[in-house]
């Protein structure tokens, strides 16, 4: 099967391409860019005039809820939603039931993803057995079955010593540790940023120090142990500054922010809107601006959806009893384009943060359109105006504070390994 995508504005940051060009795909691989291979005759042509041709997006953090939480979502529903959002690779978290802490769960997830065939799925395994923070998971076995990293997500570790040992052991297996910096004692079951909104609403707050104290603690260990670590979902400007200093000191650390943290603040929950309940919480305007600045100067190398689909009932309760997290796969691309519109990043840099950079963090071959690489790409109409609604969301999780929001820009075609896995139906 020979596929050509013609006349699009091709943005491939990894190869420094940002121009109107054609893309040629054969046998699931990128065969050529700009000029067709010799004796070219396409089986299928996509006209991408006035559209963008991008590498398929790489998502750092999606909860697929399978096995065990199928009432929230399944691998099939969520990978289908990913494909419709231009995402061709995603990393899923071990917070399933059972927890992903042995090869059996990894193999199950990989099998279900292959059966579904909408999006490549990479697994980040549990750092500790059952995510209980006490005993190490069998990291070598996890790695052998394909895990790209390990994490304890937001589950606390029993002691600083367990963290040290877990980091050392992960490094012995050449596994990146994905860390969510939050001191659970300081967070103290809080559910919003500790600030004026939380005070007015009487909701217990999580101080910024819950993030920076945990981060400082990790950095002290990393300085000593030289362990490759990725910091997930920073929410405070102070944490961004700390990462910048650590990078100046050549510590092997990277960091990301979730797309919603780049837009929302604690102000958005003023009406007890449980859809804005998130961990870490949305913080102040100053924090949001600090994250954007960190994105601009490269301290935060990647942006992710941090996709957490829930059943409707999970958000039908007083704020503190709602489950945190939002269904965001389908908002990532339009919001990244909005950052370009708002002048935070230029188009090429914006694309880099959701393609090449997350692929590098995960250590996977994705996020670029180099000749000879897997043909994972998407075609995007940057001017297409559309509204996010629970009817149009493909994710089973309808829990997003952006319901009813109008976006500009949407994927019209998604190509996975040379095959068209999504095409937007004309309205």
């Amino acid at each position: 099967m020979k596929l050509e995508i013609l006349n699009g504005h091709l943005v491939d940051p990894a190869n420094d391409i940002d121009e109107v060009a054609d893309l040629f795909i054969v046998g699931g691989k990128v065969a050529a860019v700009r000029k067709p291979p010799s004796a070219w005759e396409a089986d299928h042509t996509i006209n991408a005039a006035n559209k963008l041709i991008l590498p398929g997006l790489v998502e750092l953090s999606a909860s697929l809820r399978q096995p065990g939480q199928e009432h929230k979502a399944t691998i099939r529903t969520e990978t289908k939603a990913a494909a419709a959002a231009g995402i061709t690779s995603l990393a899923c978290l071990p917070t399933t039931n059972p927890v992903v802490d042995s090869p059996a769960e990894v193999e199950l997830i990989e099998q279900l993803s292959q059966d579904s065939g909408h999006c490549k799925v990479y697994v980040i395994g549990a750092l500790t057995r059952g995510l209980k923070g006490e005993n190490l998971s069998e990291m070598a076995a996890l790695k052998a079955t394909g895990c790209v990293g390990v994490t304890n997500v937001l589950h606390p570790l029993k002691s600083p010593l367990v963290l040290r040992r877990a980091m050392e052991y992960a490094s012995s297996q050449a596994l990146t540790v994905f860390t969510h910096p939050l001191d659970h004692h300081l967070a103290n079951h809080g559910c919003v940023h500790e600030g004026l909104t939380g005070l007015r609403l009487g909701l217990p707050g999580i101080p910024a120090a819950a993030e920076t104290a945990a981060l400082a603690f990790h950095l002290a260990l990393i300085e000593e142990l030289n362990v490759r670590t990725h910091f997930c979902r920073l929410s405070t400007w102070r944490a961004v500054n700390m990462i910048a200093r650590a990078q100046q000191d050549h510590l092997p650390v990277t960091a990301d922010a979730s797309i919603l943290h780049l837009f929302l603040t604690d102000h958005d929950i003023r009406d007890f809107d449980g859809l804005c309940h998130n961990l870490p919480p949305y913080r102040t305007q100053q924090d949001r601006d600090g994250l954007r600045k960190g994105l601009q100067d490269g301290t935060l190398s990647a942006v992710c959806a941090d996709h957490q689909p829930h059943e409707i009932e999970a958000k039908l309760a007083p704020f503190q009893s709602t489950e945190p997290g939002s269904s965001t796969l389908e908002s990532l691309l339009p919001l990244i384009l909005q950052l370009v519109d708002e002048g935070v990043l230029d188009l090429k840099e914006a694309v880099r943060r959701v393609t090449q950079q997350p692929a590098e963090i995960l250590g996977i071959a994705a996020g670029n359109l180099s000749v000879g690489s897997e043909a994972d790409a998407c075609v995007v109409d940057p001017e297409l105006d559309w509204m996010l609604s629970s009817e149009t969301l493909l994710s089973r999780g309808k829990n997003t504070p952006l319901l009813g929001h109008r976006f500009k820009g949407r994927a019209t075609h998604t190509i996975l390994g040379g095959k068209l896995v999504f095409q937007l139906e004309p309205e």
């Binding site: 600030g195 004026l196 609403l201 009487g202 909701l203 009406d271 039908l316 007083p318 704020f319």
Partner: protein, 313 residues
């Protein structure tokens, strides 16, 4: 005003209207037959997810004096009340053609949540939600203050104690600000003061001797026994030494200052018996005025609570 959820949605005019209406009901309390027929045929449900004596009984009396039928429902909160069952409880009570729910719940925002999901003919009155708000308590407090000091623009009011965990303090601060109070002070150790509290328009004092000087109203808050466990304060003894209201400290306030407390009081912890039972204490008046203020709120909610009225307060 279909729902009555917190003070911040009121303006000065609406707040004063409630106080004036309450004033007119104080005469009912003094009658031989303490009833008016304003709410005859209406059904009011006291829906309490948290124990309460004072608030529940004064709401019940207020409803009965307005000739309404009252149903008291207490739901144990030892087990976390899940959202579904909270809504299911609500829907089944609504099906009994009730008119007003008076809701107390341990979680902030619970009354808002119920108001968002309730049927259009039902009014929700917040009788305390988590740390968020206790608007009827705040109204009876400013009502009590107004009975003693009419002009809020001349008043210095001190709120002393566990501001951090207090829904009462939050609602009082809002009500006092709306009424144009000259100065609102909060007095507590930092462990019991929420971050950013000064942004609510209050002066912060960590020392009683400075904070109580020349104030016209002293509102003492209850100190929950469990605060010793959370490392908020070392002991009741030290708390009383630093923040307990004694006759010596009361002497710092203006000569006609009044002493208030939302109850129930901890004698010897936040207030000495001499002060609690002394001539400046208006603690029992607060309880009495609570009935008139709650009658006012119930009658206003019913009179404007038609389905087309989307106003909330």
């Amino acid at each position: 005003m279909r729902h009555f959820l917190d003070i911040s949605r009121l303006d000065r005019k609406a707040l004063t209207h409630i106080l004036d209406t309450a004033k007119s009901f104080t005469s009912v309390d003094g009658r031989a037959v303490k009833k008016v027929p304003l709410l005859r045929g209406k059904t009011i449900v006291n829906l309490f997810f948290e124990p309460s004596t004072r608030t529940r009984t004064t709401f019940e009396l207020a409803a009965k004096r307005l000739s309404a039928d009252v149903l008291n429902i207490s739901i144990a909160t030892s087990a976390t009340v899940k959202g579904e069952s909270l809504l299911d409880t609500l829907f089944s009570l609504e099906a009994m053609n009730t008119d007003i729910f008076i809701v107390r719940h341990p979680e902030s925002g619970a009354a808002d949540f119920i108001a968002k999901h309730t049927a259009p003919h039902v009014s929700i009155i917040n009788a305390g939600d988590g740390r968020h708000a206790h608007p009827t308590q705040a109204l009876l407090d400013v009502f009590t203050i107004r009975e003693h000091h009419e002009d809020f623009s001349k008043l210095r009011v001190a709120i002393v104690g566990d501001i951090l965990h207090s829904r009462v303090a939050r609602s009082q601060i809002e009500a006092l600000n709306i009424l144009g109070t000259r100065e609102i002070r909060v007095i507590a150790p930092r462990t019991l003061l929420p971050a950013n509290i000064e942004q609510l328009g209050v002066q912060v004092f960590q020392n009683c001797w400075q904070g109580l000087r020349d104030v016209d109203v002293i509102i003492m808050l209850r100190l929950q026994k469990e605060r010793m466990q959370g490392a908020f304060i070392p002991s009741e003894h030290e708390y009383f030494q630093l923040y307990g209201l004694t006759p010596e400290r009361l002497a710092l306030a203006s000569p006609d200052a009044i002493v208030m407390h939302p109850g129930p009081i901890n004698r010897g912890v936040e207030i000495s018996s001499e002060v609690a039972d002394g001539p400046r204490s208006v603690i029992l008046q607060q309880v009495e005025y609570g009935i008139a203020v709650r009658m006012a709120i119930l009658s206003i909610a019913i009179s404007t609570g038609d389905p087309g009225d989307g106003d909330e307060a």
